[in-house]
């Protein structure tokens, strides 16, 4: 079912992933993305087996430094690290000295001094992860910085699309919702455009980033038009508490124009795939009958692919320090 790896084959004599960190999709070559997706494939079967252990990263320490609250992503990274045999520790901002006014770089120096082998970071400020990556001795994996990037989400979405549709190149993907504030949208736009998909973004004009078309996508404000012929419909979470009255008049009005309903989905291709990074606002951006229909919804599969993709990223980023042949 998965596409021929040759489509994004690593060119002769080129290292498949020469990066120390994974801070974003920006700057990645198509074959580097393809390589991570190929690497993730092997972990899907393991994750479905009863005994889910592969201890190739045994002895390494993974710190999940979450300066912003998260449940699902933190859990996904914790499981990914543990299945590869790592000692995984979590740092929540709520428990940390960040609350006592310590600067981000002082906190970073403290984490670094404990000699982790990989740090997974979420932070509410765009660029915070890059700032940290420049100051630590180990690989850094961005799991969301402000509205900038969330690369593993884009990778798991791509893996899901590749497995369900068979290709990414040429696929028509419609991303709908709060694109302006969404790191998920940014990473997805970059990744899908890099791999040759036709990417459409649709939102109320107040929730489209300025000059968004410069990122290789087509912008719409009419959801019906944006859905015409779409093979993948990716819905974004509307942050209700921030949006209502400021960027859109009300949740009710938003749902009327930008909510994905069964009827509206009829404009997309017959077997279009519906995706959502979660957590969903049922009845706002998506209705339950669409979200819960296993024939169209890939939402739980996205979560499953998330663990596999994160295992692949943790494995690849730590290869150099583990002295894996060809990586040291």
């Amino acid at each position: 079912m998965s596409e021929t790896p040759s489509e994004y084959a690593v060119p002769q004599g080129v290292h498949p992933f020469p990066h120390r960190h994974l801070v974003g999709i920006a700057g990645l070559q198509p074959w580097e993305i393809g390589f991570l997706l190929d690497e993730a494939e092997q972990w899907i079967a393991l994750n479905r087996a009863t005994a889910k252990h592969d201890d190739r990263l045994a002895g390494l320490t993974q710190i999940n430094a979450f300066f912003e609250n998260s449940t699902r992503t933190l859990l996904s990274f914790e499981i990914a690290g543990k299945r590869l045999g790592m000692d995984v520790v979590n740092m929540h901002a709520a428990q940390s000295s960040v609350k006592k006014g310590e600067t981000l770089l002082d906190t970073t120096a403290t984490l670094n001094a404990m000699r982790p082998d990989v740090i997974v970071i979420r932070h509410d400020a765009s660029g915070a992860v890059q700032l940290i990556a420049d100051k630590v001795d180990c690989p850094v994996l961005n799991t969301g910085d402000g509205r900038h990037e969330h690369p593993t989400q884009a990778l798991l979405d791509a893996l899901t699309i590749r497995r369900r549709i068979g290709r990414i190149n040429g696929t028509i993907v419609t991303i709908c919702g709060d694109v302006l504030h969404s790191r998920v949208a940014r990473s997805n736009m970059l990744l899908l455009a890099t791999l040759g998909a036709e990417v459409r973004v649709v939102a109320p004009p107040t929730l489209l980033p300025p000059a968004v078309e410069r990122m290789g996508v087509t912008a719409f404000t009419d959801f019906d038009a944006a859905l015409e012929g779409a093979e993948v419909v990716m819905m974004l979470r509307l942050q209700l508490e921030r949006m209502a009255g400021a960027f859109v008049p009300s949740a009710r009005e938003y749902h009327h124009f930008y909510g994905l309903t069964r009827e509206r989905l009829g404009r997309a291709t017959k077997d279009a795939l519906v995706m959502h990074p979660g957590p969903m606002n049922r009845g706002i951006e998506i209705t339950s009958d669409v979200a819960d229909d296993p024939r169209v919804s890939a939402i739980t599969e996205q979560v499953e692919m998330g663990v596999a993709v994160r295992m692949a990223c943790l494995d690849v980023l730590t290869r150099q320090r583990r002295g894996v042949e060809g990586w040291a």
Binding site: A125, L131, R147, R183
Partner: protein
């Protein structure tokens, strides 16, 4: 070279912004004043005079830098600045006569510091500060500081009141309700980086309002830094109508567009922020056609505690004093303006505007003079800057032209 001395500088090229000329020759300085100008080979100086050979360097008036945020004498003298006009954004804000007096009392042998008075108490934009008393204490203008006064009624009263004292109102031109929370200008780079941004028109909106109020009240208005085509269009038209308006620009906005902020370079976070390429080019055109009245550094030295932060949390501002002249010289190299005009924008015009005895090479004028090798190549290095901090977005840039010596009131500074 200590004490009251005489100093003869010969073999230079004298830049006279008033006459618009560059002529070979020298100057004779006695008791802190310029005593003679011209060909001093012919017996102008006495045997007791200290004679310095400029070796073909430019002899130009010391720069008058309008709207700095810190008193930073080392950065100033390294950059050829002999007079700094200080913004009221200090701790505490310069909103009372005693604070103005204190700021103005900075020892003048190193650099003249001329303070701007805070237009409102604590710069909060709510109540008018004692601007008449602050003028008597030494303030040469009133300033809204880093911020914009949102209350149009207050701004109207402020301009009306200030015009009675013939005080220039120096404003920051950004509509604060549009720029609230924004750290960049709407465009591709901030969108890619996921940084909150505001439309560039926020500047023109503020300019339009303040121009209307200046026209209505007859007040003198100065925009500290303008950066957009639409704002320059408004100022250009207002000047034609006879509105008493002037504006400044900084080299950063002449040389950098907002692509310089990527990836998350906090040293390029400025206020007003860097703009798109079209606005950058419009800024150069506004210098060329005379819409711009002066060039200023916006000097705002910031340490790591203000800059080594995520972009949205970092403070705006750049250390600009030391590189002001060097960067501005690109306008001459690119044939936008000539050397005399450049020094008019950097010294003569700002001095004249704010009524300061500086900015001229003339007999009897204070000997605030700089020697400049306008062809000397060097590379800007943030770590090597002489001032309080090295937060320059130009780190690593190869440039041409450097201040060789800064002479304040006849005394060469180290």
């Amino acid at each position: 070279m200590s004490g009251i001395g005489t100093l003869a500088i010969r073999n230079g090229r004298i830049v006279d912004p008033v006459a618009g000329t560059v002529t070979e020759g020298g100057v004779l300085i006695r008791d802190g004043l310029i005593e003679a100008i011209g060909d001093i080979e012919h017996g102008l100086f006495r045997k007791s005079d200290v004679v310095a050979d400029a070796r073909g360097a430019l002899i130009a008036p010391g720069l008058v830098d309008v709207g700095v945020f810190a008193i930073d004498p080392l950065a100033a003298s390294a950059g050829g600045i002999t007079t700094s006009l200080l913004m009221p954004d200090q701790a505490p804000p310069l909103d009372a006569p005693a604070l103005i007096r204190q700021a103005a009392s900075f020892p003048a042998q190193a650099m003249t510091v001329v303070p701007f008075a805070a237009a409102t108490v604590a710069l909060a934009g709510k109540e008018m500060a004692e601007i008449g008393l602050m003028k008597r204490a030494g303030a040469v203008a009133v300033s809204t500081g880093r911020g914009w006064i949102a209350d149009s009624g207050l701004m109207h009263r402020l301009m009306t009141y200030a015009s009675a004292f013939d005080l220039i109102v120096v404003t920051h031109a950004e509509d604060g309700s549009l720029t609230q929370g924004a750290v960049a200008t709407d465009g591709e780079m901030p969108s890619r980086l996921g940084l909150p941004s505001a439309p560039a028109v926020a500047e023109a909106m503020a300019v339009a309002r303040d121009l209307m109020l200046a026209e209505e009240t007859g007040a003198r208005l100065h925009f500290r830094q303008l950066t957009t085509a639409r704002a320059f269009d408004l100022v250009r038209a207002a000047k034609r109508r006879g509105v008493r308006v002037t504006c400044g620009v900084s080299p950063a906005h002449l040389l950098l567009s907002d692509s310089a902020i990527g990836p998350f370079k906090t040293f390029a976070r400025l206020s007003p922020p860097l703009r798109g390429e079209d606005d950058r080019k419009a800024t150069i055109e506004a210098v060329r056609d005379g819409t711009v009245d002066l060039l200023c550094s916006g000097h705002d030295p910031r340490g790591p505690e203000a800059k080594r932060l995520p972009y949205v949390s970092a403070e705006p501002g750049m250390a600009g004093a030391e590189t002001l002249l060097t960067l501005a010289l690109t306008l001459v190299k690119d044939e936008v303006i000539g050397l005399p005009r450049l020094f008019a924008l950097l010294a003569t015009a700002p001095a004249q505007l704010f009524g300061i005895a500086a900015g001229r090479i003339a007999v009897g004028a204070p000997a605030d003079i700089i020697l400049v090798d306008d062809g000397k190549p060097w590379k800007i290095a943030a770590e090597a800057l002489a001032g309080q901090a090295g937060n320059t977005p130009f780190d690593g840039l190869p440039v041409q032209g450097r201040v060789l010596k800064t002479i304040k009131a006849g005394q060469p500074l180290d």
